[in-house]
């Protein structure tokens, strides 16, 4: 009969202990919590609020309802242009980078001295500052004296004015993006290394061809890495900014004018913070939707080992 109050007491004590543990945990992650609140959560919420206002920084924001969104969708030709360019860039760059990085990973997977050295060489460009890389590539792609055209004319091919020609400028940026596949490559190398060799041996004994092994063993087992790299590439290329900003400023004739440039221009050149925020939110939702659609379409094919 005296058990009830005692267990109630114990329960209360257990709850207090748990609360203390939670408090202690929160204290430990406190630096991140503060940073998250001040540098992420607050700006995101404010950006949503500003997106419903007219805000020039100099004067306080004025509520305009959905006007920014309506203008973007109905009146703004630059929005359409920037969005189309960004989607074209992502659609060209991501598949090419994926193919190249998997091919490189297959070539560089072995642990020989040569493969290790080349792996380092392939990885190095990912560490080069993007503005320095962009300026270096402007020189490589220079129409008159660049490396690309020197090589092309050496084998008798025409010499396009890469960055100066609206038809070639986008291609130039896609080619340049292939130079920084080193990050994805080393992730694929790690994934390939994780595939147990016993699986290949068993398949070889069963008489399955090389191609069959690649399709039925390698591909499923590296599919989580493909998913990871593709999502990273999606998020990155849908907000591409620094390289084209330095190299072309969006030109020639808006051929490389990307979405983030338009957000940047509205926020910092035209001082239209409200409009920029609405643009940024549309971009955010688009990135989320495209990523989610990609997840949904490949979910069944991604094979997680348990």
């Amino acid at each position: 009969m005296t058990d009830a109050p005692r267990s109630a007491n114990a329960a209360r004590r257990a709850r207090a202990v748990e609360r203390a543990a939670t408090l202690r945990g929160l204290l430990w992650i406190g630096p991140w919590l503060v940073g998250f609140a001040v540098f992420l959560l607050y700006p995101i919420v404010m950006s949503l609020i500003y997106s419903f206002t007219d805000y020039s920084i100099l004067e306080p924001p004025v509520y305009v309802g959905l006007e920014n969104y309506r203008d973007i969708m109905t009146k703004d030709a630059t929005f359409g242009r920037a969005l189309r360019n960004t989607l074209v860039y992502a659609a060209a760059s991501i598949p090419l980078c994926t193919l190249l990085s998997i091919a490189l990973a297959l070539l560089l997977e072995r642990d020989t001295r040569g493969a290790r050295a080349v792996r380092a060489v392939v990885f190095l460009p990912t560490l080069v500052p993007v503005s320095a890389a962009a300026i270096g590539w402007m020189w490589l792609l220079n129409g008159d004296f660049g490396l690309f055209n020197a090589a092309l004319s050496a084998i008798g091919l025409p010499r396009p004015d890469w960055l100066g020609n609206p038809r070639w400028a986008m291609t130039s940026l896609v080619i340049m993006s292939l130079w920084t596949v080193g990050g994805a490559t080393v992730i694929y190398v790690a994934a390939l290394r994780d595939v147990p060799t016993t699986l290949y041996e068993a398949a070889a004994i069963d008489g399955i061809t090389r191609l069959g092994r690649a399709w039925h063993i390698t591909l499923p087992l590296i599919s989580p890495a493909i998913l990871f790299n593709t999502v990273i590439a999606l998020i990155g290329s849908l907000q591409v900014f620094a390289a084209p900003y330095v190299m072309t400023r969006g030109g020639p004739d808006f051929a490389t004018y990307f979405y983030t440039m338009y957000v940047y221009a509205n926020a910092f050149t035209y001082a239209r913070m409200g409009y920029a925020s609405a643009l940024a939110w549309i971009q955010f939702l688009l990135i989320l939707m495209i990523t989610a659609a990609f997840f949904a379409s490949v979910r069944r094919r991604v094979h997680y080992r348990v």
């Binding site: 630096p31 190095l124 503005s131 402007m138 020189w139 490589l140 080393v186 849908l238």
Partner: protein
């Protein structure tokens, strides 16, 4: 046998293709201004002797002395250029990158402890939030973050470039936490019995054991801050505060790019420190990036 030869050939081709842009940039910075614009594929400059204007060959000492003199002249011209202040940019970049790396390493070491070695309700939920923040596009944050820093009075100073690092970053915390999880829990319990507090456990045991991953976090953050272009572009507004990544772009656009040998010399100045960091720790850096893609 034939297959090995083919592999070797492929490996060399890949290495050449990925190296060539950097080699070409460096090679251009070695050219004198008169021959900076050449149409040939030659990597090393052609140098004519003053006496008979015949071409000097690579086997003559004079050739290399001339190349070295051009190298010195080009880099000196950039370093003391009236169009830019590279010594100050360099100092600013170093200052920002060091402060960022120290702050990121310290804060991630502490926060990751709370996310891995302590058990508490809500921990795993908050960790998922942390992972999700990696997906937030910077474009969304650009305008409102600027306004936050404006309110704090940080616009035009270097503070916004390093201060946020002292509050940890999702990727770094994730990396450190994954490493902490591999350290056996029994160690904590033993230390606890010896009367060691959690703080003591972190500093006397966990951090010394985690030196490899903390080095990777520090180096990656250093490189990341050194390379950052958009942050300085948005938050800085006068030249004395420019970092190298931004100052370089301004230098190039104010030149209109004509003396490409000088622009490439500036490019090399910006890239070289990163290459040095990479040479010192390439293995750790590559493994750090590779481990980000694995598990969970």
């Amino acid at each position: 046998m034939r297959l090995t030869a083919l592999r070797g050939l492929l490996l060399s081709l890949v290495a050449a293709a990925f190296c060539l842009p950097l080699v070409w940039m460096l090679a251009t910075s070695l050219r004198p201004t008169e021959t900076a614009l050449q149409r040939s594929l030659a990597i090393l400059p052609t140098i004519r002797s003053d006496a008979d204007s015949g071409e000097l060959s690579w086997f003559e000492a004079r050739y290399w002395l001339t190349v070295a003199a051009t190298l010195r002249d080009n880099f000196a011209a950039v370093w003391t250029s009236p169009l830019a202040d590279f010594p100050i940019y360099f100092k600013n970049s170093l200052y920002v990158s060091l402060l960022s790396a120290i702050g990121m390493t310290l804060s991630s070491a502490i926060v990751a402890f709370g996310f891995s070695r302590l058990r508490w309700r809500g921990r795993d939920g908050l960790f998922r939030v942390l992972l999700a923040t990696m997906m937030i596009p910077f474009a969304v944050l650009m305008a409102p973050t600027y306004l936050v820093f404006k309110q704090l009075g940080w616009i035009g100073t270097l503070v916004p470039l390093w201060a946020p690092c002292w509050f940890g970053g999702a990727f770094s915390i994730f990396l450190v936490r994954q490493f902490y999880m591999t350290i056996p829990r029994e160690l904590d319990e033993a230390a606890m019995l010896d009367g060691c507090s959690n703080w003591g456990i972190l500093w006397r045991m966990i951090i010394p054991l985690s030196r490899p991953v903390l080095t990777v976090v520090a180096l990656l953050q250093f490189v990341h801050s050194w390379n950052d272009f958009v942050g300085p572009l948005i938050f800085l507004n006068h030249e004395e505060t420019y970092t190298l990544a931004l100052g370089l772009a301004m230098f190039q656009s104010s030149h209109g790019g004509t003396p490409w040998n000088l622009v490439m010399a500036a490019d090399v100045i910006v890239i070289l420190p990163v290459i040095v960091v990479f040479m010192l720790a390439q293995r750790a850096l590559i493994e750090g990036v590779a481990s980000g893609g694995l598990k969970e």
